[in-house]
Amino acid sequence: MSVELWVAILAGTLALAAPLVFAGIGEGFVERAGRINLGIEGMMIMGAFTGVWAGSLGGPLVGLVAGAGVGLVMAVGMNLVIHRLHANEIVVGLAVTMLGLGLSTYLFQLWIPSGETNVTVQTVPRADLGPLTDIPVIGPVLFGQSPLVYAAAVLLVAAWAVTRFTRFGLAVQAVGSDPDAAALRGVRVQRTGASALLIGGALAGLGGAAITVGTIGSFTPDITAGRGYIVLAVVIMGRSRPVGIALGALLFAFLQSFALLSQSTALTLPSEVYQSAPYLVTLVVLVITSRRQLRRLYRSTTGRAAT
């Protein structure tokens, strides 16, 4: 395989990873707080639609903010239903996904009826990084990207910092791992969990908007194509930690990018093999992660037994 192909695969990896990183980091907070949000796909697709719609009115930044906003609103509703009315987290998550997919298509069909050209919004403008882009290999891979890729990197650092260097970050972890002890310490368990879910919702919406407002410029039904579920897997793989999630997202995106572009070489496997590979590898990594977690737990209890 040629250098150009590798450059293309790696550049594609970063572009495909960005939305996963946004939504994944949000879901990381949710799962660290001991919850799970199966509505991410619905929140992402609503973010994707709202992003374009609002973007057409007020430009890309407004679109991104609106995308995050709609995710936030959906998360507020979810928190209410799950933690006030005690509805099942899993069922509500699936329902939110169903609702998001249906509603986004519904609104899109009303907005752009048959016979009208789809609306394209201006995508987030690319910064001209001048000579950096001309560095061989590294230039096109790292410096030819949408600003949202850099934003995802910034978010990663920010999430890492919040997790590590703030009381909130510690509280999220405490609430997720041992709510009773945390409550006894004086942490407000419900409120911390709710904050995490809201962050997760907003970032899922932003992740969806990053696809439409960030790169494509317009919405089509089902444009998120199941990425919400991938985010869940990526978060488990990354053990809910920002850096792990980012690595998981990069791994998945790399596999997808590789699967796409290695088709343009003479490797003649059925295209389904390429399309399934990312899921298969994710499953394998999931198994390895679970196994390791189980072993660690076992070691920690037997370790204590020996003392």
Binding site: R164, F165, T166, R167, F168, G169, L170, A171, Q173, A174, S177, D178, D180, A181, A182, L184, R185, G186, V187, S300, T301, T302, G303, R304, A305, T307
Partner: protein
Amino acid sequence: MTASQEQGDRVLEARSLSKSFGPVRALHDVSLVVRPGAVHALVGENGAGKSTLAKLLAGIERPTAGSMTLAGRPFAPRDRAAAKRAGINMVPQQLSLVGELSLVENYLLVGPRRLADRRSARALLTETLERAGVAVELDTPTSALTQAHRQLGEIVVALAEGAHTLILDEPTASLGPLEVGGLFAHLRSLCALGTAIVLITHRLDEVRQVADDLTVLSHGENVHHGSAAGLEPSQIARLMVGELAAAPARADRTIGEVVLAAEGLVAASTRDSPLDGVDITVRSGEIVGIAGVAGSGQNLLLDVLGGFVQPSAGTVALAGTAAGASASASVFQRAGLAWIPEERSEAVVPTMTLAENLTVYSTAIGSSSRVGRPTASKVGARLQAFDVRPPRPDLLASGLSGGNQQKLLAARELGSAETPRAVLAYGPAQGLDLRAAQAIRERLAALAAEGAAVVVASHDLDEVLGVADRVLVMFAGRVVADLLIAQATTERIGRAMAGLTGTPPTADPEPEVQV
């Protein structure tokens, strides 16, 4: 202002505090004066109300009646944070350390700042550790620390948070003598600086060692308060429980074959002290009591004996099961092992009816008694026999009060037509009134007389002493004493429970039991 005036300004006083949890009266009309610069010991049986009192002082719970003053002014903290701000801090009995976080992070978790500054927090904790003369890893997750280090760690965190009144609920329960020594030295030095310490403990010799003042609680009431000076542990024990009532007359029982035998058990759990080489033998017709401070491994031992936890070393053998076969809870159940766990919620299914709960073993895989639905009259009779109120077979178990759920459990495990081969019971009379508790004890004795091998564990020493022929005392995952009931004085058991090696375990591995 002189130092003593300053200290006098900070007296914490509780007047006629009462606290009820629904129908449960945990505290009744208890008063207490905590003096700055002094260690105030708070002792009493399990369930006497010590932790409840401590929680009232620390703002975790609020009293149903009575009041508190701090430095002469009314003191009614809204929550733990408010009490902390007023200078009163507590290390709860159930540690509040988050296992995934290090001590530094646990300190920062509810710290005053939004930003977690690990460096200065570590410096502060290191300094506190040095002053307390102990060494604990500050940066590893606390779940990786030993129980003792977690205990010390939580104390250190509380010390670092700073307080003029520090309440420690059974801080020494899991500490070794060296650590206790270091801790007490530090507590004394804190006292010298004017800090008030409330120390809850079951180790009565510690009272003599470190306490200035003493309050004894019994059944939620204040039965003694005053100076701790000159009181011997045995005197304190008498204050706590009074003279032991004479054991009820025992029916003649023939001690027979070994029914339940465990050898060299080693097992671990995240919830209890790991077992460290436990041997136990129970014969037909014998009732063996297991005593010990909570968390000494009794729970885990019963889990292993019941077949719920596979030991990493050692064996459990129950007569009637194939020798050497891997023991499991269902095999033991079918072989006739009755089971009353410490938490009755583990054994009663609230969403099933009384009848379904009572006959649940007929649904076991391989159950011989596939009777389908039992007749209502049979079930009703059994419910009445155990005084379950109301004795309605079609009522959901969740509709019963806690005590009646306990009776339901007893009815199922101890009331079947066939005599169980063996019985494992942890606090079988918990939550029961005196009459019902007595009935359960009599039932256990009757089963033993019919040939069952019975194991009774309890936090409540009376419950054990009232029924057992032989008492094993557990400490830190080991059996440290094996006493015939005749030898089992409160003092000897109390010392063994506290891990005092003065009472060597009886050498005789198969003691003869006089009945």
